[in-house]
């Protein structure tokens, strides 16, 4: 560790470090605006043509005690010359508003060994001896690392512009970063103007003054700059997080109603949607609870509207009964589950892929439905169209599994060329042909035409009870058997339409890494790095999880070993009492073993943060089968 106050005299021309990618973190106490700073830095980088992936660092508590490791709040932004698909391994440059939040990141191993750290300097000489001691203790703990600390008088500088520096440090930090990475100030001013468009103009002026102050300070005091060349895209790009993408996807797919109850990390999607949905004729309905929310969505869909509900794990649990009703009444319904750590309230602000089995099997009785999982922000947008069409075509429930990593992370991607075809056709409200029954199951396919209330000749009593084709309640064995058979048959038919997934890398080899959801970028980067050192590794990423995509067994059999990588819990095979017989495995791993009868292994972690490619690479090294080629 080197500790240096920034030199006060102007420096000569700073050194310029040119790199293909760099990872920045901004961390503060909640309320100091580090997240906003990171978001704007990420967006401006994307607008300038860099590849970007951001991850929000969110404390688990709403108001944790300030200046404690658990209060770390901020953003990690990984920028690159090429597209960036995950948050990487470690931060190369950190702006820390105090040493305690930095300590949190240090303890998590989130910082590169040689990270440059720009840290607020007021705590070292604070009047409160406890704070001075905490600073000293932290510095001692950092001592083992080789960080380069640069003390920055952030508060002092901000006080020249505003009275309350807690409200301005983030813009000062943004100015420093803008100077270090040569970000376009004009673009940043534009983003600030957008950010404060509903506030008084003076606030904009103040924030821009702080931005420029930060820029000037870095210009005068820092001896380095970093160049991450950008590549101009040939296609127009958009930049957004996964929840915004879901919301836009909902509009693009012709959704008319979003019924929700606030729950982290899903809420921001409906907030975003509520700002714009009415311009497209849509409605966001905030119900009194999760059960009411799905009830409203289900009722709307039953009445012929295109409706969805959005929630997170605990909400999904509460919706269980209505999911069953939707399955039984064969009412099309899209349910978005933005997963967080569980069980129970678990880790509201942290990522996990722990809802997979609950999403597929979490209903009493046999309730077959479709589950799909987008893997990128772009797919969050696109999946809504696919989900809607499947739901309507098969009169079924489609659960979309996103997660906190996708929800809050920001990534640029080519602007989708939206099509009117995505809106599909509205329900056919022509009079029901004589003899057509409300559940007129095709005996081969299990599919039946949808009948909407008000449709002439289509009146029937919908029921959650076991029923026949006429929707007449029936408790006889043949009625229930037939209903179950028809509802299940639809999934078999749908599975027959799916194509085998593409393998990333060679179609045969020593190890196949299988993933789903937001881990796509980290897995593929790890696999790429493994292949670069000669390992025979490929990967495969599933989007459809119920029913599973076809041909998996054949693909798996071409590899000596198959291993899932997931963000959910599994027993370590070396843990006490854990045997191959009782070992609890990753959730996708369970599914794949059951479906393919292949001895699929798993490597899973539940760190409450996205997986790092370096961790996965390490797991790949450790999991290579004996005698693997190099």
């Amino acid at each position: 560790m080197t500790m240096a106050p920034a030199p006060s005299a102007p420096r000569p021309e700073p050194s310029l470090l040119r790199v293909d990618e760099h990872t920045v973190e901004i961390v503060s106490d909640p309320g100091e605006g580090a997240q906003k700073c990171g978001q704007i830095f990420g967006r401006v980088s994307a607008k300038m043509g860099n590849g970007v992936w951001t991850v929000e660092i969110i404390p688990a508590e709403i108001q944790p005690p300030a200046r404690t490791p658990s209060s770390a709040s901020g953003n990690r932004i990984r920028i690159g010359t090429k597209p960036i698909t995950n948050w990487g391994d470690a931060a190369n440059l950190v702006v820390a508003f105090n040493e305690q939040v930095l300590l949190h990141r240090h303890r998590l191993g989130a910082l590169a060994k040689d990270a440059v750290i720009l840290i607020e300097n007021r705590w070292a000489t604070h009047d409160d001896p406890d704070i001075c001691k905490a600073w000293g203790d932290a510095m001692e703990e950092f001592g083992t690392a080789s960080y380069r600390f640069i003390e920055v008088p952030m508060e002092e500088e901000c006080l020249t512009v505003i009275d309350n520096p807690r409200r301005g440090k983030n813009m000062f930090a943004l100015g420093m970063l803008a100077r270090i990475y040569s970000r376009d100030l004009e673009k940043i001013r534009g983003l600030i103007a957008q950010e404060f468009r509903k506030k008084a103009p003076a606030l904009y002026d103040q924030n821009v003054a702080l931005l420029e102050r930060g820029w000037r300070w870095a210009e005068e005091h820092l001896d380095f700059r970093i160049d991450v060349p950008a590549v101009e895209s040939t296609r127009p790009m958009v930049v957004m997080n996964g929840n915004q993408a879901l919301a836009i996807g909902a509009i693009a797919s012709g959704m008319e109603l979003c019924a929700m109850y606030p729950i982290t990390p899903a809420t921001s999607a409906s907030h975003f949607l509520s700002d714009i949905f009415d311009k497209f004729g849509g409605v966001v309905h905030q119900a009194e609870d999760e059960i009411a929310a799905i009830g409203v969505a289900l009722g709307s869909s039953f009445a012929g509207k295109v409706a969805f509900t959005i929630t997170s794990g605990p909400g999904l649990a509460l919706k269980t009964e209505f999911i069953g009703l939707a399955v039984m009444t064969e009412t099309p319904l899209v349910i978005v589950d933005v997963q967080r750590g569980g069980p129970s309230t678990g880790l509201p602000t942290k990522v996990e892929q722990g809802d997979l089995l609950a999403a597929i099997y979490g209903q009493p009785g046999d309730a077959p439905h479709v589950v799909l999982a987008p893997a990128t922000m772009e797919e969050c947008l696109l999946c809504m169209t696919t989900a809607r069409r499947i739901a309507e075509a098969f009169r079924c429930v489609v659960i979309v599994l996103s997660d906190a990593n996708l929800a809050t992370g920001v990534q640029p991607f080519p602007r989708p060329e939206m099509s009117e075809a995505w809106l599909a056709q509205p329900p056919d409200l022509a009079p029901v042909r004589e003899g057509v029954r409300p559940y007129d199951w095709d005996p081969q396919r299990g599919i039946s035409p949808r009948v909407v209330p008000g449709q002439p000749g289509g009146m029937f009593t919908a029921t959650g009870l076991s029923h026949d084709e006429w929707s007449h309640v029936g408790y006889t064995p043949d009625v229930h058997e037939r209903g179950c058979q028809m509802r299940s048959r639809k999934l078999a038919v749908f599975q027959q339409m799916l194509k085998p997934p593409a393998v990333n890398g060679d179609p045969t080899g020593d190890l196949l890494v299988v993933g789903w959801g937001s881990t796509l970028g980290a897995i593929e980067e790890a696999v790429e790095r493994a292949r670069q050192v000669g390992l025979s590794v490929s990967s495969l990423h599933l989007r459809f999880l119920s029913p599973l995509e076809p041909g998996l067994k054949e693909i798996f059999q071409r590899f000596r070993k198959v291993m899932t990588v997931e963000i959910n819990y599994s027993d370590d095979p070396n843990d006490p009492f854990v045997t191959p017989e009782n070992r609890r495995r990753g959730q996708l791993c369970w599914l794949l073993r059951a479906q393919t009868l292949v001895d699929v292994d798993c490597w899973t972690r539940v760190p409450g943060e996205p997986l790092r490619p370096g961790q996965i690479l390490q797991a790949i090294h450790e999991s290579m089968p004996q005698g693997a080629s190099r």
Binding site: T385, A393, A421, W422, P431, M497, L498
Partner: protein, 334 residues
């Protein structure tokens, strides 16, 4: 047309219902076009449609041909039905193109207001007739174009309740000398709104005979009250008349009694002396008298009203109490 400027301003006030009607026309036309494409398409065409509807995420993951073959219902092509659908598409496309003009009616000097209005509504009704024809084909009940395609103008008398609520407003430009609106009463249903832009002298209270409890009736010289009229969700008729005519507003939301609903702001000082638009001076005077009598507040009306309200509340309370008592078995209380 001298009243062209006023007509434009009035149309502007009805932008919302005009837009809504046009939107319905456009949507129906698009849906019909898509339906025809589906009916006439090959498996390849249906697969292309399926690929579009499933979106880019499905590309390479879902086989659109299998989807089209297994999921999309393909009605066997019925030539007669298809012919009707094509006729309906032609009608709807034509109506979309002139959707705004559908709301404009001009009564030629000496012409019949009733006939011009009926004709305009009938033309709008062609859209409903086209929609009905589509429904018949989809339900497999079409008799084909040869046996009467049913895409002619549809007289207002044959409109359904929902069609009467969907229709756009009509703005009718005409001469005061032709203003005999009483016969328009048969069109005032659903959300039908008719605005008469009158040029030249007219009878003093030509709309008085159209006052009915649920009908908004407005006679104005300077467009006062037109915004309230436009916002009314029921039927209504308005006339922009010369300064010499009476000015009044009958707002159905005003109350239960006619005097609560009707506000007269101007009545001509002089009694009519000559025939206008075929109405004798006596008939015109009758209309003015009718107007006055409808607006006259009966003596003691406020007190009677208050008493009635109190009595009503008491009755309700008594009824509720009686009902509650009837639900409780008090037989063993002594």
């Amino acid at each position: 047309m001298p009243s062209e400027g006023r007509v434009g301003q009035i149309l502007e006030r009805f932008r919302a219902p005009l837009g809504a009607f046009r939107s319905v026309l456009v949507t129906t036309t698009d849906e019909l076009r898509a339906m025809l494409l589906t009916r006439q398409s090959t498996l390849g065409g249906r697969a292309a449609r399926a690929a579009g509807e499933l979106g880019p995420l499905a590309a390479g993951r879902i086989d659109p041909e299998r989807f089209a073959a297994l999921v999309i219902d393909h009605h066997e092509t019925d030539p007669a039905g298809t012919e009707v659908l094509q006729l309906a598409l032609g009608v709807l496309t034509d109506l979309v193109e002139r959707s705004e003009r559908l709301s404009l009616v001009e009564v030629p000097a000496g012409g019949s207001l009733y006939e011009a209005t009926a004709r305009a509504l009938g033309e709008i009704g062609r859209a409903f007739n086209a929609a009905r024809a589509i429904i018949e084909v989809r339900a497999g009940r079409s008799r084909g174009a040869g046996a009467g395609s049913g895409i002619d103008p549809l007289p207002f008398a044959r409109w359904t309740k929902s069609e009467r609520r969907l229709t756009p407003p009509l703005v009718v430009a005409m001469q005061g000398a032709d203003l005999r609106p009483a016969a328009l009463a048969e069109f005032l249903d659903g959300r039908v709104k008719i605005v008469l832009v009158v040029e030249g002298e007219c009878a003093p209270a030509p709309l008085a005979r159209l006052v009915a409890p649920g009908t908004y009736v407005l006679q104005t010289a300077d467009e006062t009250g037109l915004d309230r009229f436009a916002a009314w969700e029921g039927p209504g008729i308005a006339a922009l008349v010369p300064e010499s005519a009476a000015r009044f507003e009958h707002n159905p939301a005003g109350g239960a009694a006619s005097w609560e609903r009707l506000t007269i702001t101007h009545v001509p000082d002089k009694l009519p002396r000559r025939t206008i638009a075929g109405l004798s001076a006596a008939q015109q005077a009758e209309e003015l008298e009718l107007l006055r009598s409808l607006a006259a507040r009966p003596s003691g009306a406020e007190l009677a009203g208050a008493a009635a309200a109190a009595g009503g509340a008491s009755d309700s309370a008594d009824k509720l109490a009686a009902w509650l008592l009837s639900r409780v078995d008090l037989s063993d209380l002594g």
